[in-house]
Structures are given as structure tokens and as C-alpha cells.
């Protein structure tokens, strides 16, 4: 290797702040994957900023309106992979009008010009049209990975375009979107010579696909690792697919509706027996007792079991859990009851994440579900638990205090007591002490969702103790402005704050003036904030976008829904009529 003239020159160039030539610096920085690390690196000096920009291959944009695609492309010229998030999270619960925005198309147009070799696109809560999907499919010849989560605006026609044109596709992950599910013919659009697929998740869709086409596709894609089928795939179909793909690492079954002969059942059992490498199992719609045992042989190495669409009873869950000694993540429906959760505590010592969803969230006469007893039982048995999402109808302060004593490593604690403003059902006191215990004990807490009857005291605790908290969700809680002030004054790492139906007004909103620029966004709906308060905020903080959505028939002065976020590109120009953008400029 001869001497590098560039290297010699730069070695003697005393104006350089860094002793490394660009190539070395870029090489070193390209090993950095975390975008937080990269952000830090880019602030060291101009050379490092440039080197980092040139070496960044993946860009993560948490709020699509915080920046423009042109600015992104100007700073990062060699991006291969983009993650883009759009609507506020409360759009998942129908609090945001459908035409709100977050259209991906303008991004694609810029990317087609600046990143023609783009390989990966991951979108969450974006508006995606069929036209956009077709544009994507045609303009990016190297395109490999498409992931759509909680998006809407497209139909199966758009998927057909992707299947038809993306010759190098390795991942197609369609997850929990609002799709117009017209027909299953999109799957037949993959050409017969297409073999590169590694991930296929079409669990979102219900229309029948051409099974023969699917079987051929699975057979010829030898690198397929993840297959998540839709409810339309029967057990008989599943058996045939498993025979083609014993190498699967993640499987989402179709419907488990029992309808097999004894011979077919044996064949299916055999097929599951061949799945030696399975670490994730999901789907399991219409799962019932007679057919659960067929899954057992595949459970030995399972680390993630998603039963959140299976209406299981406690004993059915227990039998299944006995087969999964290495389970780390478990999602279930509350039909398993406290008894089922006791089984979790007894059988899953390695459990790190538990999510319990309500089977009948709106039925008030439902007596079952889970209570504090189930959560307690899990905490005694699963000491490594650090992520919980728990929907229940009753809870006590004492139980939560014990739970976090057992499991002090919580990073994500999301407790939803489904009746708004419900106190501790034993003492009738507010649930303040419960969340006080959580923030005091769990020093690593990053995400918190609170519920139940809560006074400002809860927020005093949060402000005082939750030093690592980044995401906070509050509903039907608090007594006065002071509550919100405590949150804003106290949590140094707060990035996302979403509040609904709380008695926080302008004083509270305005107490966070400086704070909002260090956060991604603030959402406040059905609180006591007025238009004047919002206008004042917008005037004082020109680098924040302050958007208000009004409800039909509400007072002129009320700001029913407020969304505040930092942005380097000013107010957006694509807001629909129902969104008022208040600009300070």
C-alpha cells in the first residue's frame, strides 16, 4: 500500500482540528449505529459533523413535521434507510381527524431525486396512498424493506404495486394499518422468479389470498425467516406452508379454528415439530383447547408469545406456558384472568415484558378480566420484568408498591385502570402513592402511563423522582395547573407528553415555554387551555409549531385539542381546515 498523498497533506495541515483524515474518521463513525450517539458526535466540531453526515446510512425522523425532506437530504447525502413517524399517538384512539396530514408523498418525491438507491423505508402513523406505494415501487430499483405500522390511506392495490415492481424486496411488513382490503390478489403479483423475501407479514389483511401462489412463494424464498399470515389462512394451509419453511424464526399463524381430521392433525403436529428455530409465535386467532397442543413442539425456544388475539382460559394458558421455558415477552388477553397470570408467575422466570389486553373493554357488566392480584402474582415470579402494559378494572396503592419492590427495573410502566378517575378500591384513596412508589423505586423508568384517581401529588412525585422519564401519558388526572407544572419543571429528559381530560389551563401550558424546545411534542386535549393561551405560546416561542383543532360546537375561546412541537421549518402548509396553525412569525 503506497503512501496516501491526501493523508500526508492533512498530517501537516495545522488548521485541521482533527488528526485523522476524513476517510478514517468516516470509517470509525460509520460503526456508530445509535442515532443519539451520532447526534452527539456531530456536535464535536465541524469536521466531525461533516464526517458523521457523510457516513450516516440510516436516518430516524420522529416527527415528520419537525424537518423537511430537503433539509434531511442536504445534510445526509448517503442515506439508505429512513424511519419516519407522523401523526400524534392519540390518533390511534380516534382523537385526530383522518385528513390531519403526515402524507408521505412529498418525502418520496425528494427521496427519488436525492436517494435513488434508498433501500429501506419504515413508516409509522403516516398517510400513505396507493399512488405513493406505486411511486415507491417504481422509483427505487434497490428497494428492499417496507414496513408500515398504524398507517392509513392505502389499499391492497398499493401492495400489488410493491409486489410487482420491487425485484429486490426482502421485507414486507404490513402491521395494524387502516387498509382498504379489497382483495387478496396482490400476493399473486410477486413474479415467479422472485426469491429474495425474508420477512412477510400480512396479518393485517383478511381477504383470501391465492393459496397456491403463497405456497409457491414461500417454497422458493429459501431465506424466509418471518412469516405472519392472516386470519384467512386455515390450519390445513398452515401445515402446507410450514412444510415449505421449517427454517422460520417467527411465525404468525392464521385461524386456529378446529376443522381437521385426525390424520391432518397429525400432519400439522409433525410440521410444528420441524420448527426448531422458532423464537416468536403470534396470530392464533380462534385458538381453542383442542388444538393448542399442536403448537407445543415448536415452543421450546420461544422467546416471544403473542396470544393477544386468542381467547384463552387460565388452564389453557398454563399448559402452553409449561412448554416455553425461555419466554421473555408475553402478550395475552385478560380472559386468562388472575389465575392465568399466576401461571405466568410460576412458569416464566425469565419474563421481561408482559402486556395484558382487555377482551371486552367497553362492556361494563363484565365481571372477569384481571385485577391487582394477577399483576402481583407476576411480579413475585418474574423478577426481571421491565416492560408492562396492564389493562384492569381495579387496583390498589399497596399492590403497586409491592410490585415495584419486586421488580425495580421497570423501564416502561403503563397501567390502565379502565374506569376513569377510579380510586384505590380498598381504601378509596387516590392512586397517588402507587405512582409515587413507581417513580421512586424504578430509577430507570423511561415511559409511564398513569390512570385512576390522581391528584397533583402524583405529578409532584413524578417531577421529583422520574429523572430518566422520556414519555408520559396522562388522562383524567390532576387537580390544578400545578400538576402539569411539576411535570414540566421536574423531568429533565422528557420528550413526549400527552395529556387528555385534565384540569390544566393556560398557566400550566405556559410554564413549559422553554421546555418544549427540548421535547419532541406536547399533546393536550379536553383540558382548560384557551386560544389566547395558545396564541401567547406561539408568539413567545417562534420555533414551536402550535396547532389547535376545535371540536364542533365548542366555545370560540376554547382550544379543545392542542399539539405543540418543535420544528426547524416553521408552520406546515398542508394543514387541513380543521387544524389552525398559530404562528408567532
Amino acid at each position: 500500500m503506497g503512501p496516501n498523498p491526501k493523508m500526508r497533506k492533512e498530517f501537516f495541515d495545522s488548521t485541521r482540528s482533527s488528526p485523522f483524515p476524513d476517510e478514517v474518521l468516516e470509517r470509525v463513525l460509520s460503526l456508530l449505529k445509535s442515532h443519539k450517539d451520532r447526534s452527539a458526535v456531530s456536535l464535536v466540531c465541524k469536521d466531525w459533523y461533516n464526517a458523521e453526515s457523510w457516513s450516516r446510512a440510516h436516518v430516524f425522523i420522529g416527527n415528520c413535521y419537525s424537518v423537511s425532506p430537503e433539509i434531511v437530504a442536504r445534510r445526509f447525502p448517503r442515506v439508505k434507510s429512513v424511519t419516519l413517524k407522523g401523526k400524534p399517538r392519540f390518533s390511534d384512539f380516534n382523537l385526530v381527524p383522518e385528513n390531519w396530514g403526515a402524507d408521505v408523498h412529498p418525502w418520496l418525491v425528494v427521496f427519488a431525486a436525492k436517494y435513488p438507491f434508498l433501500e429501506e423505508l419504515r413508516l409509522k402513523r403516516m398517510a400513505v396512498s396507493d399512488e405513493s406505494l406505486e411511486f415507491l415501487a417504481i422509483n427505487f430499483p434497490n428497494f428492499k424493506v417496507l414496513s408500515l405500522l398504524s398507517c392509513d390511506g392505502f389499499s391492497t392495490d398499493g401492495l400489488a404495486a410493491i409486489a410487482t415492481h420491487c425485484k429486490n424486496l426482502t421485507q414486507l411488513d404490513i402491521h395494524e394499518n387502516g387498509i382498504d382490503d379489497k382483495s387478496g390478489s396482490w400476493l399473486s403479483c410477486f413474479p415467479e422468479n422472485f426469491t429474495s423475501l425474508e420477512v412477510l407479514n400480512f396479518a393485517n389483511l383478511n381477504t383470501d389470498v391465492n393459496f397456491d401462489a403463497l405456497e409457491r412463494l414461500v417454497s422458493r424464498c429459501k431465506s424466509l425467516k418471518v412469516l405472519k399470515a392472516s386470519k384467512s389462512i386455515s390450519l390445513e394451509h398452515l401445515q402446507r406452508l410450514l412444510v415449505c419453511a421449517p427454517q422460520l424464526i417467527e411465525l404468525g399463524t392464521g385461524s386456529l379454528m378446529p376443522e381437521l381430521t385426525a390424520c391432518q392433525y397429525a400432519q400439522l403436529e409433525n410440521a410444528f415439530n420441524q420448527l426448531k428455530n422458532l423464537s416468536t409465535l403470534s396470530g392464533l386467532w380462534e385458538a381453542s383447547a383442542p388444538y393448542l397442543p399442536v403448537l407445543y413442539p415448536a415452543c421450546t425456544n420461544l422467546t416471544f408469545l403473542n396470544l393477544s388475539y386468542a381467547f384463552l382460559q387460565s388452564h389453557e394458558l398454563e399448559s402452553l406456558l409449561c412448554q416455553c421455558p425461555h419466554l421473555r415477552r408475553l402478550w395475552v388477553l385478560d380472559t386468562v384472568g388472575d389465575k392465568g397470570l399466576e401461571a405466568v408467575g410460576s412458569n416464566c422466570p425469565l419474563l421481561e415484558e408482559l402486556r395484558v389486553f382487555p377482551a371486552d373493554p367497553f362492556d361494563e357488566e363484565v365481571i372477569h378480566g384481571v385485577t391487582e392480584a394477577g399483576f402481583l402474582a407476576v411480579s413475585y415470579g418474574c423478577r426481571r420484568l421491565h416492560y408492562v402494559l396492564y389493562f384492569c378494572r381495579q387496583m390498589t396503592n399497596a399492590a403497586v408498591a409491592t410490585i415495584v419492590q419486586n421488580c425495580p427495573d421497570f423501564t416502561h410502566f403503563r397501567l390502565c385502570i379502565m374506569n376513569p378517575g377510579q380510586p384505590d378500591y380498598v381504601t378509596n384513596e387516590p392512586m397517588d402513592e402507587a405512582f409515587g412508589a413507581v417513580v421512586r423505586t424504578c430509577t430507570k423508568l423511561q415511559r409511564l402511563s398513569v390512570s385512576g384517581l390522581l391528584t397533583d401529588l402524583t405529578f409532584e412525585y413524578i417531577g421529583q423522582y422520574a429523572k430518566n422519564l422520556e414519555t408520559l401519558s396522562v388522562a383524567f388526572a390532576g387537580s390544578s395547573d400545578r400538576g402539569m407544572q411539576c411535570m414540566l419543571e421536574g423531568c429533565p429528559k422528557l420528550r413526549k407528553l400527552e395529556i387528555r381530560d385534565c384540569p390544566f389551563g393556560n398557566a400550566a401550558l405556559l410554564s413549559g415555554l422553554e421546555k418544549y424546545e427540548s421535547m419532541r411534542s406536547l399533546w393536550m386535549s379536553a383540558c382548560n387551555v384557551t386560544m389566547n393561551g395558545c396564541r401567547l405560546l406561539a408568539r413567545e416561542m417562534p420555533r414551536l409549531n402550535v396547532e389547535v383543532m376545535k371540536d364542533d360546537g365548542s366555545d370560540d375561546s376554547q382550544a379543545d385539542k392542542v399539539y405543540v412541537y418543535r420544528s426547524v421549518v416553521g408552520p406546515r402548509r398542508d394543514a387541513p381546515p380543521c387544524v389552525l396553525t398559530l404562528s408567532g412569525l
Binding site: 390511534d92 382523537l95 379454528m257
Partner: protein
């Protein structure tokens, strides 16, 4: 109080009540507070749900239960976007409401050729075919006969059939009991030698 209300509704006493008069007349409409399909918010469709019609997040749409002859406690008012469950998950879980709710029975309609009205039975109460057939014979005062795999039901004019989840009419007894109760949507006891024998061919 609420518990007994739920139980009585599940017993469905009105459906099995004997009355003079043609079936279908004098039907007491029983509005329940069970989740109506209108609440499944499909994001893609413009269907106006109870929730999205009232755009305000805190406006409450009340949904009062209306039980015949009883003063019903008011049902819980629906709040937009609460509990915080994604629309996708709500839509996936909705259709299951009638199937495997803890404590509720698995009621299916039973019709008998020639009888003026239908009955309803709870399949969960029975553990096997012989139990079920005995109950049917008892309820309708008829004899069903012996089941054989090759010949269907021999020894009487009646053959019990059921409609499965695919909409096909099947002979009762061919599949394992567990599979039967998860796929059976309704029962029909057919009558008439030729038709009944037809199953046995």
C-alpha cells in the same frame, strides 16, 4: 344486581317462552348495552361511529339499556378514545363477542321440521353427543335413532343436522365433540324418511 341481570339475559327466557300467536308477532325489542357494531371504528371507512360522530374528546354519548319490565341501571357512558385501545385491535376483537365470554353459554337455535317455532339450547351444558341427543329427544318429544358412521341415523324419521361455520349442513356425530361445539352455528332436526336416509348414503 348487575350480575343477575346479565345471567337472565343469557338464559334468554323470552326466546323459549311459550306463547299463543304466530312466531314473530309481539316481539319485545330488547335493547342491550352490549357493544353495538357501530363502535368498531374502521379507519378506512367513513362509517360514523358513536365515537367519531361526537368529535369532542370529552363529549359523552350515553347508551341506556332498555330491558323489558325492569328498571335497568344506566349503562356506562362511552368516552371517545377510552380505554386507549388501537382501532385495529378493537376491530379484531369485536366479532368475537358472542363466542367465548366467560360464564355465558353457547346458545344455538334448534329447529325441527314441522314444528311451529324454534328453541334454543346451550351446547356448553352437554359433554357428549349422547347427552345432546337425549336432551333434544326430551325437548321435542321425538326419537332420533342410532348413529352409525356408514348409515347416519337409523330407526326413526328424524336426523339431527347442524350448520357449521362455513354455512354447510352436516350430520351431527361425524366429527369429534370438541370440534362440533366450536363449529356448530345452529341445529336442524330433519324429518321425512327420504331426506333423512339421504344423509346415510
Amino acid at each position: 344486581m348487575q350480575r343477575s341481570l346479565a345471567y337472565e339475559r343469557h338464559l334468554n327466557l323470552e326466546a323459549t317462552e311459550l306463547r299463543l300467536g304466530l312466531p314473530g308477532s309481539d316481539e319485545a325489542p330488547e335493547k342491550t348495552s352490549a357493544t353495538p357494531s357501530v363502535r368498531s371504528n374502521k379507519r378506512a371507512s367513513p362509517e360514523i361511529s358513536e365515537e367519531s360522530r361526537s368529535k369532542g374528546s370529552s363529549s359523552l354519548s350515553s347508551d341506556v339499556e332498555n330491558c323489558e319490565g325492569e328498571t335497568a341501571p344506566p349503562a356506562k357512558e362511552q368516552i371517545v378514545g377510552w380505554p386507549p385501545i388501537r382501532s385495529y385491535r378493537k376491530n379484531c376483537l369485536q366479532p368475537r363477542k358472542n363466542d367465548r365470554v366467560d360464564g355465558a353459554g353457547m346458545y344455538v337455535k334448534v329447529s325441527v321440521d314441522g314444528a311451529p317455532y324454534l328453541r334454543k339450547i346451550d351446547l356448553k351444558v352437554y359433554k357428549s353427543y349422547p347427552e345432546l341427543l337425549e336432551a333434544l329427544e326430551d325437548m321435542f318429544k321425538l326419537t332420533i335413532g342410532e348413529y352409525s358412521e356408514k348409515e347416519g341415523y337409523n330407526g326413526s324419521d328424524f336426523a339431527p343436522t347442524y350448520e357449521d361455520k362455513d354455512g354447510d349442513w352436516m350430520l351431527v356425530g361425524d366429527v369429534p365433540w370438541d370440534m362440533f361445539i366450536s363449529t356448530c352455528k345452529r341445529l336442524r332436526i330433519m324429518r321425512g324418511s327420504s331426506e333423512a336416509r339421504g344423509f346415510g348414503c
